[in-house]
């Protein structure tokens, strides 16, 4: 009986592998056939450009909720497209793009991390800033430690982003502006890591983006602070030079910069540039 089960499991795996292979072939084939069409109609609205095939979008962790939502809308507006997201710390994403990770679009949380990609000539054209984001202090629901500003963070356990990632660089700027010196208990690899530590109650506070607080409002509260104005992050987006599906990549970048997407991003707490 157990061998039978094992055999059927193998069959399922084989079938899945076969299916994956087939869809991969299909998508790349259709992607290449539609490429000239969309190249010709470049400049028109994304919904008008006929694109298809799958694209991979590397995006800053803070874009997770909004991009997932916008990705679904893009897929609905462009039947036959499939977007795979890879969310993470912008610096790690930039590094993997430079090292040859197969991505079509990169959306970073800071110009500095985007620069890693443009310096390696891995971007297709100039990156464009599509939103701005500011920091907030994330605290557990009800703010049990009564944190009102950056100065209150010195006496409690705080999670920050590592300085390599944009939220960490912004945190350093904000803390410097406030003249607050603090020793965090951990430096996280992306903003969602810092946020989760508050959500789990493992730390008392963390410095994250306004948008993260908003996206997680059911579990955490946000505390605004004036120094956040000194540490505003620009979010650039660019299609990549080695994008396997250049047409769809360009269309997605265009879509993110459309008024419709801007509205959704503003609703999520981002500011338009």
């Amino acid at each position: 009986m157990s061998t039978a089960r094992r055999r059927s499991a193998v069959a399922v795996l084989a079938a899945a592998a076969l299916a994956a292979g087939l869809t991969a072939c299909g998508s790349s084939g259709s992607g290449s056939t539609t490429a000239p069409t969309s190249a010709a109609s470049a400049g028109t609205a994304s919904s008008a450009a006929k694109v298809s095939g799958s694209i991979t979008v590397f995006a800053a962790a803070s874009l997770k909720e909004s991009f997932t939502q916008l990705g679904k809308k893009f897929e609905a507006a462009n039947p036959g497209t499939k977007i795979t997201f890879n969310f993470g710390g912008s610096s790690a994403l930039a590094r993997s793009i430079v090292s040859g990770a197969p991505a079509d679009v990169f959306a970073a949380a800071s110009p500095a991390t985007m620069k890693t990609v443009t310096d390696a000539e891995a971007a297709n054209g100039e990156p464009e800033v599509f939103v701005k984001n500011t920091l907030e202090i994330a605290v557990p629901k009800g703010n049990p430690k009564h944190i009102t500003g950056l100065k209150d963070l010195t006496g409690v356990e705080v999670a920050l982003c590592a300085q390599q990632v944009p939220c960490g660089a912004a945190a350093v700027k904000a803390l410097d502006a406030a003249g607050v010196k603090l020793t965090p208990v951990t430096l996280e690899q992306d903003v969602k890591g810092a946020l989760t530590k508050v959500e789990l109650g493992e730390v008392d506070a963390s410095l994250v983006y306004r948008t993260d607080v908003k996206a997680d409002a059911a579990k955490i509260d946000g505390v605004e602070f004036p120094e956040a104005a000194k540490a505003v992050n620009d979010y650039p987006i660019a299609a990549l030079a080695k994008a396997p599906n250049a047409a769809a990549a360009a269309a997605f970048v265009e879509y993110i910069r459309s008024p419709e997407a801007a509205q959704a991003l503003t609703a999520a707490g981002f500011q338009t540039p």
Partner: protein
């Protein structure tokens, strides 16, 4: 050296025919696959900037922390793991198979899952962690002891498996003889069993130590990342790779050197273990 006849026998067998290409080719490919990446590390190393990279206090901080934590984790594994191995090998504990399966689980479990589990149990809001915090004021996540715990969690099974194997290979009649001479079970364990399986314990400890030194997933999940407190070498390498690959290569070289030193230092012991 003492087995000269065996040596000659082996030699004649080896000379029996040419090595078939069907085996030689994949073997050489396998060798290249294992060695080339490390050679690449040496080729790409920023040799001129290396002294400067390695003299930064962060490197030594991370290395020191790594060595201390891996050694402490091995200590924890020895204190808890050897008795556990004895329990598995020498007693008729009910549900022993299940216990062994549970002990081996962290061996196959992705370490990051272990980190999540540790955080949920020993974190400030965890079942055990909350009690530790309120009763003793002890919080483990994001502390150096937290690193030791995370490393011990993933490393101990290596030690237990290795020591259990040594115990099974050791003849229990020595212990029985000690018992007939009036030694208690504990005395027999201390005076007879332990010396008997010392090489096995040594091998297990080295395995556990090496595993703890390289531990990444459970550490970063449970203990977080802060230089000097919880940022071990693997974490430092990973983070450096994001911003300064040169520094990551330098750190990797240090870890490579440590690994080679350990292998070289323990080679004799390795060979003599059953």
């Amino acid at each position: 050296m003492t087995t000269a006849p065996a040596e000659t026998r082996r030699r004649t067998r080896r000379g029996g025919g040419r090595v078939p290409y069907a085996l030689l080719l994949p073997a050489l490919l396998g060798l290249a696959f294992l060695v080339l990446p490390l050679a690449g590390l040496l080729v790409r190393a920023p040799w001129s900037a290396l002294p400067e990279q390695l003299s930064s206090p962060e490197v030594w901080q991370a290395l020191k922390l790594s060595l201390i934590c891996a050694t402490a984790a091995t200590g924890v594994s020895l204190v808890l793991g050897v008795p556990l191995a004895w329990l598995l090998a020498r007693t008729e504990l009910p549900g022993r198979r299940l216990v062994r399966a549970l002990v081996t689980l962290p061996l196959v479990l992705p370490p990051v899952v272990g980190g999540v589990a540790l955080l949920l149990v020993l974190g400030r809001n965890g079942i055990v962690g909350r009690w530790l915090d309120s009763a003793f004021g002890i919080t483990l996540p994001f502390t150096t002891p937290g690193v030791v715990l995370a490393e011990a969690f993933v490393a101990m099974p290596f030690l237990v498996i290795s020591v259990e194997g040594a115990l099974r290979a050791a003849d229990p009649r020595y212990e029985e003889a000690a018992a007939t001479l009036g030694a208690s079970r504990l005395t027999a364990f201390r005076r007879v069993t332990l010396p008997l399986i010392a090489p096995g314990i040594g091998a297990g400890a080295v395995l556990a130590w090496a595993r703890a030194l390289g531990e990444f997933g459970a550490t970063i999940t449970f203990a977080g990342n802060f230089p000097g407190r919880t940022q071990t070498m693997p974490l430092a390498v990973y983070l450096a790779m994001e911003s300064e690959p040169e520094a990551a290569i330098a750190l990797s070289l240090v870890l490579l050197a440590v690994s080679i030193a350990v292998l070289a230092g323990l080679r004799e012991r390795w060979m003599s273990t059953p």
